[in-house]
C-alpha cells in the first residue's frame, strides 16, 4: 500500500492532499490510493473513458440541448475518475466556515438593503454597496419590508494554500450554479468506482436535496403551511438549463420559464391549463437583472424582454418568496467581497473562518491533489465548490461537492473547468445517523394535475413530431424496400403505383400532393425519398427540441432514448445516411412511444402528448388513404400500392393474417379506418381522443372527435372520375375537417395565451 504503486509523485514541498510531508499517504486517502494502485494506469484510463460514457448516458437528454456547445468545445468538461478525498473532521471545519460565511452574508444582505449600519459605521467602504451597479434600489426598503430570508442556497469556492490552510476564492448567491452537476457527477463516479474504488465509499450527497427542499419551503411567505415551489429557469437557451431540468426533476418542482408565471393582485401565479394556480416560492436560476423587466435591465431596451413583470413588487409585498431574494447579487460585488472579514468581526465579533485568498500571482502557492488527466496521476491545484442550503434553523452543507482542476494560468476564482473531480468526505458517522437527522419538510402541494400551458403545448407538439417522424420513416422504408425488390414496380399500371407511393410519402410528412409530370417516374420518386429522409431529420429535431423544454416530465430512460434520437438525427442530417438508416431510428421511436405508454402517469401531461400523437396519426392515416386508395389505379398497381399503405401504417401483417388474400380496397379501408381494435386505425385514435377530451373535461374536443367518427361511417361505393375514387375522397374530406378543427380548438382552448413581454417607456 504505497503511493509509489500509483506512480503519483507530489510536487515540491507544498501541501499535498494525498501524501504528507514525510511521503506517507494520508490516512483518509489510503483506501483510495490502494484501490488506484490496484487499478493501475490501464484501469484508470478505462475508468476515465467509462466515466465520460456514463456521464453522457446519465445526462443524455439533458445534454441533448447542449449538443452544439459540446460540439464546439470537444470534451469541454470531463470527469476525473479519481475523487478529491476529505477527512470527515476536516470537512466539518470547512462546513462550519461555510455556515459562518452564509450567516454573515445573510445579515449583510439584510443590513445593506435596510438600516445600512455597516455603511454608517464605515465597515463597508463608502460606495461599495449603494453605488454598485449590482445594487438594486427596488430590493431596499424600510425595516420589516425585506424578504423573510435573503439567502436560501449558496455555492462557495475554496482552495487550499501550499501551507495547508483553506481560503475563500469566490461565492455565488445571486443564482448559484453547479449543484445539479455535482449530483450528476456523483451518480456517474459512484458507478465507475464500483469497479475501482473502496467499498466504504463517501458520505452520501443526495440527501442534500431534502435539506434544500426544506430550506426553500421555510423561505415561503409567512403563514403558508404547504408552499408551492417552482424552479425558474431561462429556458433551453440558458447555459445552465441542463442542470435546471435535472434539479427540477430531482426536487419534484415544476420547471417554469418567465412566460409560465404571472404576477397579479399581489401574488404570483402559474399559468396552468385551467387558469392561474398560486405559487409561494420561486427557486430562481436567473440573475437579478433578468427576473423582472419592470425593475431591472437597461433603459431604452425596446422589444421583447425576459422576466416576469411585477415579480419584484410581488416579493416586496410578501406575496411570493424568491430564493435567493431579489438584490442579493450586490453581495458578489468585489468591493463587498473584499470587506467581508471586517463585516464578520463587526457583526459576530469573531474572525472570518474562511479568509479570502490573498491576491498573488495566479496559480502560485496552492496545494495539489492527485489528478488523473487521461495519461497518469499528476499533482494539480483544485478549486473546491461547496453547496449550502440555509434556513432559520441553520446552514446545511452538502457533504461533498465539485473539484475544478486548475489548468496552468487559471485564476482559482474562474477555473476553466475542463476537468472536474467528485469530492468525497470519508470517515464520518454511519449514513443512517446523518440521514435521520434531516428534518422532514412540509409536503409539496401535488402538482400532478397542474401543467403549465407552455409545457402542455410542448408535450402536444412532442407527440405530433414523434408521430410524423415515425410515419415518414416507415413510409420511406416501405417504398424504398419495394423499389429495391423490383425496380420495375415504378412503371406498374402506367405509373399508378409510383404516383400513389409518391403521394403516400408526401402525405406522411404533411406536404400537399405534388406530382411533377415533367420528371421521369423514377426520378420523381427518388427525389421524394430524399426529401422524406430530410423531413424525418427535421421532425426528430423538433421532437428533441420540444422534449428539452419539458425534460423534467420525462424519465431518465426517456432522456437516454432522446440522446440516441439526437445522434440518429445527426447521422441523417449530416452523415449522408440513407433510407436504411431509418430502421435504427424506428427502433428508437418505438422505444419512445413505449416509454410514453408504459412509464408515464396518466396525468394531463401525458394526455397532451398522447393527444398530439393521436391527432397526428389520425390525420396521417387519412392522408395515406387519400394518396393511395383514392387513386383509381389498375389492379396490378393497386396490389403493391395498398401493401405500401398498410405497411406504412403497421397493418400489413394484420391484414394478411385476417384475409389471407390479395389486398382489396374495402377490406383495407376497414382495417385502417373503421377497426377500433387496430391501434393504427382512425377509429382507434378517435376513441382515445374522445377519452382525453372527457378526462380533461373538454366537451368540445370530444364532440369534434364524434363528428369525425360519424363521417368515417359513410358507405364507400365504387364511383370514380378523373382517375379518383370519389367515395374515398369524400370520406377523407368529411373526416379530416373536424380533425383539423380539433387541432385549432386545442390551440385556442389550451395554449393560445400570448406571452410576449415588451418594454415601453416615456421620457
Amino acid at each position: 500500500m504505497s503511493a509509489a504503486l500509483t506512480g503519483y509523485q507530489p510536487a515540491g514541498a507544498g501541501f499535498d492532499e494525498a501524501i504528507d510531508a514525510a511521503g506517507r499517504p494520508r490516512p483518509h486517502w489510503r483506501e483510495v490510493l490502494t484501490a488506484l494502485a490496484a487499478a493501475g494506469r490501464p484501469g484508470l484510463a478505462e475508468a476515465f473513458v467509462h466515466a465520460a460514457r456514463l456521464r453522457d448516458a446519465e445526462g443524455a437528454g439533458h445534454l441533448v440541448v447542449d449538443r452544439d456547445q459540446r460540439d464546439r468545445h470537444e470534451d469541454a468538461w470531463r470527469l476525473d475518475p479519481t475523487p478529491f478525498v476529505l477527512d470527515h473532521a476536516e470537512f466539518g471545519a470547512l462546513a462550519r466556515g461555510v455556515a459562518q460565511l452564509v450567516a454573515v452574508l445573510e445579515r449583510l444582505a439584510a443590513d445593506v438593503h435596510g438600516p445600512r449600519e455597516l455603511v454608517a459605521a464605515g465597515v463597508i467602504p463608502l460606495g461599495a454597496v449603494g453605488a454598485s451597479p449590482r445594487f438594486r434600489p427596488a430590493a431596499a426598503g424600510a425595516a420589516g419590508t425585506g424578504p423573510r430570508r435573503w439567502i436560501v442556497h449558496a455555492a462557495i469556492d475554496v482552495v487550499r494554500t501550499e501551507g495547508g490552510a483553506w481560503r475563500l476564492v469566490r461565492y455565488e448567491v445571486e443564482a448559484p450554479g453547479g449543484l445539479g452537476y455535482a449530483l450528476l457527477n456523483r451518480g456517474v463516479t459512484a458507478r465507475v468506482q464500483g469497479l475501482l474504488l473502496p467499498r466504504t465509499g463517501p458520505a452520501p450527497v443526495h440527501d442534500h436535496l431534502a435539506a434544500l427542499r426544506h430550506a426553500l419551503a421555510s423561505a415561503a411567505p409567512s403563514g403558508v403551511a404547504s408552499p408551492r415551489t417552482v424552479l425558474l429557469s431561462g429556458g433551453p437557451a440558458q447555459p445552465g438549463y441542463v442542470e435546471h431540468s435535472y434539479l427540477a426533476g430531482r426536487l419534484g418542482y415544476h420547471l417554469v420559464e418567465s412566460g409560465d408565471v404571472v404576477s397579479r393582485d399581489g401574488r404570483l401565479w402559474l399559468r396552468a391549463l385551467d387558469g392561474f394556480e398560486p405559487l409561494d416560492v420561486v427557486y430562481r436560476h436567473i440573475g437579478d437583472g433578468g427576473v423582472d423587466p419592470l425593475e431591472a435591465g437597461e433603459p431604452g431596451e425596446a422589444g421583447a424582454r425576459p422576466g416576469v413583470p411585477g415579480l419584484v413588487w410581488t416579493q416586496r409585498r410578501g406575496g411570493v418568496s424568491l430564493a435567493n431574494a431579489y438584490g442579493v447579487g450586490v453581495l458578489e460585488d468585489p468591493a463587498v467581497r473584499a470587506s467581508l472579514p471586517q463585516v464578520c468581526s463587526f457583526l459576530r465579533g469573531e474572525a472570518l473562518a474562511l479568509a479570502p485568498l490573498e491576491p498573488g500571482p495566479i496559480g502560485v502557492g496552492l496545494a495539489n491533489a492527485p489528478v488523473f488527466d487521461g495519461e497518469g496521476l499528476a499533482p494539480r491545484p483544485v478549486t473546491l465548490r461547496l453547496f449550502a442550503a440555509a434556513d432559520d434553523a441553520g446552514v446545511r452543507v452538502l457533504q461533498g461537492g465539485s473539484g475544478f482542476v486548475l489548468a496552468a494560468g487559471d485564476d482559482p476564482a474562474q477555473p476553466t473547468a475542463r476537468l472536474v473531480k467528485d469530492v468525497w468526505v470519508v470517515g464520518g458517522p454511519s449514513r443512517k445517523a446523518t440521514v435521520g437527522s434531516s428534518a422532514a419538510g412540509p409536503p409539496q402541494v401535488d402538482f400532478s394535475r397542474s401543467v403549465s400551458r407552455r409545457a402542455a403545448e410542448a408535450l402536444f407538439h412532442l407527440g405530433r413530431s414523434a408521430e410524423r417522424a415515425e410515419l415518414s420513416s416507415r413510409a420511406a422504408r416501405v417504398v424504398g424496400d419495394q423499389l429495391a425488390r423490383d425496380a420495375g414496380v415504378v412503371s406498374l399500371g402506367g405509373g399508378g403505383w409510383a404516383r400513389g407511393v409518391h403521394g403516400l410519402l408526401r402525405a406522411a410528412r404533411g406536404a400537399p400532393l405534388d406530382w411533377r409530370d415533367a420528371l421521369p417516374l423514377e426520378a420523381n420518386l427518388r427525389h421524394e425519398l430524399d426529401d422524406a429522409v430530410a423531413a424525418v431529420a427535421g421532425f426528430v429535431a423538433e421532437l428533441v427540441a420540444e422534449a428539452s423544454h419539458v425534460r423534467e416530465f420525462l424519465s431518465t430512460t426517456t432522456g437516454r432514448v432522446l440522446g440516441r434520437l439526437a445522434d440518429e438525427r445527426d447521422a441523417l442530417a449530416h452523415g449522408g445516411a440513407g433510407v436504411d438508416h431509418l430502421d435504427l431510428l424506428l427502433v428508437e421511436l418505438a422505444a419512445l412511444a413505449g416509454l410514453a405508454n408504459e412509464s408515464t402517469v396518466r396525468g394531463p401531461a401525458w394526455r397532451f402528448a398522447d393527444l398530439g400523437r393521436r391527432l397526428q396519426r389520425a390525420l396521417g392515416v387519412l392522408g395515406g388513404v387519400e394518396a393511395t386508395l383514392g387513386l383509381a389505379v389498375e389492379p396490378v398497381a393497386l396490389q403493391p400500392l395498398a401493401e405500401a399503405l398498410l405497411a406504412a401504417n403497421e397493418s400489413l401483417v394484420a391484414y394478411r393474417r385476417r384475409h389471407r388474400s390479395d389486398v382489396e380496397v374495402h377490406a383495407a379501408l376497414d382495417l385502417l379506418v373503421h377497426d377500433d381494435t387496430n391501434p393504427r386505425a382512425l377509429a382507434f385514435q378517435l376513441d382515445l381522443i374522445r377519452e382525453h377530451g372527457a378526462a380533461l373535461g373538454w366537451a368540445h374536443g370530444a364532440a369534434l372527435a364524434d363528428e369525425a367518427a360519424r363521417a368515417a361511417n359513410a358507405v364507400v361505393g365504387e364511383r370514380a372520375a378523373g382517375g379518383r375514387r370519389l367515395d374515398v375522397d369524400a370520406l377523407v374530406l368529411a373526416c379530416r375537417a373536424p380533425l383539423l378543427a380539433l387541432v385549432d380548438a386545442v390551440n385556442a382552448r389550451w395554449f393560445a395565451d400570448p406571452v410576449n413581454p415588451v418594454a415601453v417607456r416615456g421620457r
Partner: protein, 305 residues
C-alpha cells in the same frame, strides 16, 4: 440662455405641473404593467401642495411605495385588453428661491476629502452616489473633460457652476441625436444630446472629480418672462444634477440651461442615474404590433390664494 428668477427672492414660486402621457397600441394589449415616477417629492426648497395621478383605463392594480432614495413610485397594472393607456400627473408645488448657504462652502479638495471620510448619516447620504453607474460610467473622456475644474481650491459652488457652463458650451442640444438608450461614450463623442444626456455628463464629471453626485429629474417652467428665451426642455420632463457639499448639503446645477443653482425647477425624484428612475416604465404582455407615444408637459405659474 439663462433666466433670472422672476419672483421676488423672498417669496416662493407656486407652479402647477400637468404631465400627460398617452400610449396607443395598434392591437389590444391583454396585460400591461407600468412603473411611474412622476409625482414630485418634497425637498428643503420645495413644498408639495398637491399631487395626483389619473389613469385611464382605470387600473386593476395600483400601489404606491417610496423607493430607497425617497422617491414616490406608483405601480399600475391593467389586466384586461386595452388599446391605450393615459397617465396624467397633476401637481402643485411651492418652490423657494435659492438661499445663501447655511454653512461655509467647502473647496473642492475639502469636499472630496470630507465626502470620502463621511460616516454616520452623511455616509448614508453619499454612499449610492460616489461611484460610476450604469448610465454614467467611468470614461477617460469624462476625466479629461472635467480636468479644467480639478482645482482643489475652487469653492464648491464654482465647481458646480463651472461644470454647468462647461457642458452647456461644449454640447449642442439636439433631440434627434440621441435616445434613451444612447450610451454616454456616444454622447461624449458627438457632443450633442438632450437634458438626460447632459445630466449624465454632469454627474459623471462630478464623480470623476471625487464628489458624490446624483441625477435629478423634474420640470422647468414653460412661460419665460417677457424678453427672455423659452428654456430648452420646457415641454417635456427635464433632468439636471446635484452634488454633495459637505456641511451644506446638496446643491443643484442644470447643465442644459447653464443654471447653478437652478432658480425654479420642480424636483420630482433623484437617483444614481436615469436607469433607476425613468419617469414611466412599462411592460406589455400580448400580441403587441406597434405603439405610439404622446407626451405633453405643462408647467404654469399657479395662482396663490
Amino acid at each position: 440662455m439663462s433666466a433670472e428668477p422672476s419672483a421676488s427672492p423672498s417669496r416662493p414660486t407656486r407652479l402647477r405641473v400637468v404631465h400627460r402621457t398617452e400610449y396607443r397600441y395598434s392591437s389590444p394589449v391583454s396585460d400591461g404593467f407600468t412603473l411611474v415616477t412622476l409625482l414630485p417629492r418634497p425637498t428643503p426648497r420645495q413644498e408639495v401642495l398637491s399631487a395626483q395621478l389619473i389613469v385611464d383605463p382605470a387600473p386593476d392594480e395600483r400601489e404606491e411605495a417610496v423607493d430607497v432614495f425617497g422617491n414616490r413610485q406608483i405601480r399600475l397594472a391593467v389586466h384586461r385588453p386595452h388599446r391605450s393607456l393615459e397617465v396624467t400627473a397633476d401637481s402643485v408645488v411651492d418652490i423657494d428661491p435659492p438661499s445663501p448657504a447655511a454653512g461655509r462652502w467647502p473647496t473642492l479638495a475639502e469636499a472630496v476629502e470630507l465626502t470620502r471620510c463621511a460616516t454616520g448619516p452623511d455616509a448614508l447620504e453619499v454612499d449610492p452616489f460616489l461611484r460610476p453607474s450604469r448610465l454614467a460610467p467611468r470614461l477617460a473622456e469624462i476625466d479629461a473633460f472635467a480636468a479644467p475644474l480639478a482645482d482643489p481650491n475652487l469653492p464648491l459652488p464654482d465647481v458646480a457652476a463651472g461644470l454647468s457652463t462647461l457642458i452647456h458650451q461644449a454640447f449642442r442640444f439636439d433631440p434627434d441625436a440621441t435616445d434613451v438608450s444612447t450610451p454616454l461614450a456616444e454622447v461624449m463623442a458627438g457632443r450633442h444630446g438632450v437634458c438626460q444626456d447632459f445630466a449624465h455628463v454632469g454627474v459623471s464629471c462630478a464623480r470623476a472629480l471625487g464628489l458624490a453626485a446624483r441625477y435629478v429629474s423634474g420640470y422647468i417652467e414653460t412661460s419665460a418672462p417677457p424678453g427672455q428665451a423659452k428654456l430648452v426642455g420646457a415641454d417635456a420632463s427635464h433632468a439636471w444634477c446635484s452634488v454633495w457639499a459637505p456641511g451644506v448639503g446638496w446643491t443643484d446645477f442644470d447643465p442644459t440651461n447653464d443654471q447653478a443653482p437652478p432658480p425654479r425647477h420642480v424636483t420630482v425624484a433623484w437617483a444614481r442615474d436615469y436607469a433607476d428612475l425613468s419617469p414611466l416604465r412599462g411592460v406589455l404582455i400580448g400580441p403587441v404590433s406597434g405603439q405610439e407615444l404622446t407626451v405633453a408637459v405643462d408647467v404654469t405659474p399657479a395662482p396663490r390664494p
